[in-house]
Symmetry: C2
Subunit: 140 residues, 2 copies
DNA sequence: TATTTATTGCAACAATGTTGCAATAGACAA
DNA sequence: TTGTCTATTGCAACATTGTTGCAATAAATA
């Protein structure tokens, strides 16, 4: 899932259509390495000359989520953000001053915790969300 | 912050009033050890005979957040939940089948990661959010 | 070019959250 | 107990996010 053309191909092979809006949305999410909200995506679409209804954007996000092309992230500002699924599992460093977001890769420390949770609480962890909030290099 | 009466006292010492709704909301959040949404809190209020406007509930939640009496948690169902601030830092195990939520205490594993983040990315972590999703003991 | 149906836009709705303003009710003093 | 002050509340009105049904449109293939 590194190349945008692989994504396009996969969608077609699954019997779906490569519409202008779909291609543009994937392109926007692919190009922009930070987190984007539904309304931000919609704004970028219209900036690039493609006006899409709110409904369409949400439905397309649902489609891309289902296809595991993007994933949803909720951070402390109460909004829902989306990002392209990347091969490397990562977390986010959210600057509470300038709102910038960086990615951070963290080894398998959590995996060990999850094993412990299973032993201790009999709870089978299938996924987790971890975000760090603080001050980025520039805002410190 | 273990005793509800300490909370009441602190509020009065700060020059604020102990209204029926305020006391009831703190009582509800204090009694219920799981996460509650704004509308759930409002429902519980009216069940206990206190009808409060939506606005009032949100304003009171804002007040309690400011006073650091409660904190906000956002989990993957897109809702915002609240819980009493407890002395022990903990995380949540959210069952994706029955929606139950348990707390889990995790030592200082993340602290070590946060030091590493500072050294590596020059990002000063001030807070984090970590939730685990999976199947609880009963739903496995 | 014609056909099929996935995708889109529109209208209408639901839930969550916010703001301004006038009315109400805690807390305290007399 | 009563009066005063002002923190708190309710109401109306609004903004944002997200969803659903249905008819119109436009990709993909023959």
């Amino acid at each position: 899932m590194l190349d945008i053309d692989n994504i396009f191909e996969k969608i077609k092979l699954d019997g779906h259509r490569l519409t202008k809006i779909r291609k543009a949305m994937i392109g926007i999410l692919f190009a922009d390495k930070c987190l984007l909200s539904a309304s931000e995506i919609r704004t970028r679409l219209s900036v690039s000359g493609l006006s899409a209804d709110r409904t369409t954007v949400y439905r397309e996000l649902g489609f891309l989520l289902e296809k595991n092309i993007i994933k949803e992230i909720r951070i402390a500002d109460r909004k829902t953000y989306y990002e392209i699924v990347s091969p490397e599992h990562h977390h986010h460093l959210v600057c509470t001053k300038c709102n910038s977001v960086q990615e951070i890769v963290m080894g398998n420390h959590l995996k060990r915790q999850e094993d412990r949770i299973y032993k201790k609480a009999r709870f089978k962890v299938l996924a987790h969300s971890l975000e760090f909030y603080g001050l980025c290099r520039n805002c410190r």
